[in-house]
Symmetry: C2
Subunit: 403 residues, 2 copies
């Protein structure tokens, strides 16, 4: 094992992974290389690294921690507590291995991955909402330009152990939204995630699969073909380098990027321990709206959704229109309950018969209203066809059914 | 038709309908008689009548409107606008028929009904929340004492066109709550209402059926036997006199008494035009909590429940415990999402193998943590059995599964 030093920086190694524009700019190339190295040192969601990189840029930040600092006060600019920084150096040090870094770049080149950083115009601005917890870069397979078109986007997630009902609803929502130009972001898992990706593809829409491990490793293996198809028109992305395994920690952190990329997160089905509830939790932290699709209360696969509705103020969503509303794409049209339509007309109608005519006095007694008032109402109802005069009395027109 | 006058007052006619205590008290008898007459003059929810009766008592109020006033300023005490009062007199006048009033009392005696008024100790205090819209009396079949034991009570309502799912859930909730001593109030309709009543009876609990028409008229006719069984141990009640037909207006107003009697209203299944949404609306007006049972979004029978969740801030309820919570009978126990349990232990566990031992340095590199920190975590994990030391390294205990 060779300890990686600033002098080992080999920016040329990153060039094949960059967009032509980034590769043509020596400064961006160095910064991209440093970002790639950073992603090999940290676990996702390392806020000390995030703060340091935000303050200094990835290249200067890396040089600082490698002891190659030309300006010893540079680290102070990140406003980090010295103990936090010491602890962080302690956890980064075991990974300062030249071989491991070179290996990650090798695997990326071999599998045709690209490296996208905040310097790239297509970098999704939504990730900035993660603050110091944002990824330092994304390793990407597919059409990188898609990353620049994720507004609007919706995260559709849910249980691996989904039911036919859940997969059906996930597919309906994803297809409808993708057809309206909303990108569908999910995690490529079995069940709800897969149904959402597949339906978005089938609708000719854009879909993004965020992986917890390296993009060279299709996960789950049974979705290798689905991931290949996603990469043909959309994007398969990860913040951990190629070659890295998905771990529980990385799944949970991956969920925060799904929540951040979606303008809203919709949980279609989830058991009470489903990882999709973690995604919803990240969405809540980010202030993104959460939608939950209800289901039978007898179905354990909907229990997590019901819990989101009960305890986490998720919005009940039952169709794509309601998700669009959650994304701010549609106006709300709050109609009144038709059952609540209770007025004097109702009382007069109640008092009419379709079979026999009744006098105004009889009608007034039946409905408990004054004779003058009943006369006036009957006149209006005659105009709109709900009542008919007959001899000295009135009867209800056949079409005016009792509700 | 004979116009009813104060001189026609025949308090003796009401005696057979009263409790022994009320019948033994001449003043209560006159007041009960007047309340019965009032219920023959007004439609449910007549706030002018309610205000007048609240200010003067039913007997004095009745004498006032019948022109038999001894104190002409008495009506002023009700603080009613003169135009409101004039309009009310206009709508009450067509019903001032001696025969109609005598008929209502006759029918009540024949069918064995009782008259319960706010003077009776069993009068449900919850109705007072309706203010001037409260019933002036209740016509009751069954065990009147049950009315004094409606705290706690829950209104369980829903669609007539219920599905097997909805009826199953209504029955489960009603049986469980009735078994805990919660009275189940509903409207005796087909579908959800019937399932709730039946299950409450089967559980040996208390149930109350509020009818829109007179208690002498089983409605719907197909529930005549159910209503008879309810009256054996519980109560069948109406605010309209015996002999009166249920009308649309009376259904809608009946719903307000169901909402008022329930400490919370739970809608189990409802189409978007279900009358149970009207009951929920009354509950909201009264500040009573509303629960809605979710169902498949593909089921029209749950669409009204989902609308309550989306637009009316109803609480999602999936079991009797959650309804009990709505009634304030159970403490909330907000557990954390188990999926959100992400800490350094998770990262260390991720880095361990069950098959081969790894050195602390290897583990530190894998999980991106400092060697000292990993050593400390491993020590704790050895104590609780999640990790095992093996040779110079560590491995994961087989029982510590990845979540």
């Amino acid at each position: 094992m060779t300890v990686f030093r600033w002098a080992d920086t080999d920016a040329a190694a990153i060039v094949p992974l960059l967009t032509p524009e980034a590769a043509a700019d020596p400064e961006r190339t160095v910064r991209a290389y440093a970002a790639a190295v950073w992603s090999c040192l940290i676990e996702p969601g390392d806020a000390v690294a995030g703060a340091l990189i935000a303050a200094l840029g990835p290249d200067v930040a890396l040089r600082e921690i490698l002891g190659g600092a030309r300006d010893p006060s540079a680290v102070d600019a990140a406003a980090l507590d010295p103990p936090d920084l010491r602890a962080a150096l302690g956890r980064w040090r075991p990974r300062l291995q030249s071989e491991a870094i070179a290996f990650a770049l090798d695997v990326a080149r071999t599998c045709g991955a690209r490296l996208i950083t905040p310097d790239d115009p297509v970098w999704p601005l939504a990730l900035a909402d993660l603050g110091p917890y944002a990824p330092v870069c994304l390793w990407v397979r597919g059409d990188c330009d898609v990353l620049g078109r994720l507004d609007p986007a919706v995260a559709i997630v849910g249980a691996r152990a989904a039911t036919g009902y859940g997969e059906h609803i996930a597919a309906e929502l994803a297809a409808d939204l993708a057809g309206r130009g909303v990108a569908v972001v999910s995690g490529a898992a079995y069940g709800i995630d897969g149904a959402a990706h597949r339906a978005a593809l089938a609708a000719g829409g854009t879909t993004v699969a965020m992986l917890a491990g390296g993009v060279d490793r299709p996960y789950p293996a049974g979705h290798a073909d689905l991931l290949r198809r996603i990469a043909e028109t959309g994007v398969v992305a990860a913040e951990v380098p190629c070659g890295w395994a998905p771990t529980k920690w990385r799944f949970l952190q991956r969920n925060r990027t799904i929540a951040a990329l979606g303008g809203a997160t919709v949980v279609v089905e989830a058991g009470t321990r489903s990882g999709s509830l973690n995604t919803a939790g990240h969405a809540a932290t980010l202030g993104r709206p959460i939608g939950a699709v209800p289901g039978p209360v007898t179905s354990g696969s909907s229990a997590g959704c019901h819990r989101l509705l009960r305890e986490f103020d998720a919005r009940c969503v039952t169709c794509a229109d309601e998700v669009a509303e959650l994304l701010g794409l549609a106006g709300d049209d709050p109609a009144v309950f038709s059952g609540a339509h209770t007025d004097d007309d109702t009382r007069v109608l109640d008092a009419l018969s379709t079979r026999s005519a009744r006098t105004v006095e009889q009608i007034a007694a039946r409905c408990g209203m004054a004779v003058d008032e009943v006369t006036a109402r009957l006149g209006m109802m005659a105009l709109d066809g709900r009542a008919q005069a007959q001899g000295a009395g009135w009867r209800r027109a056949a079409a005016a059914a009792v509700g």
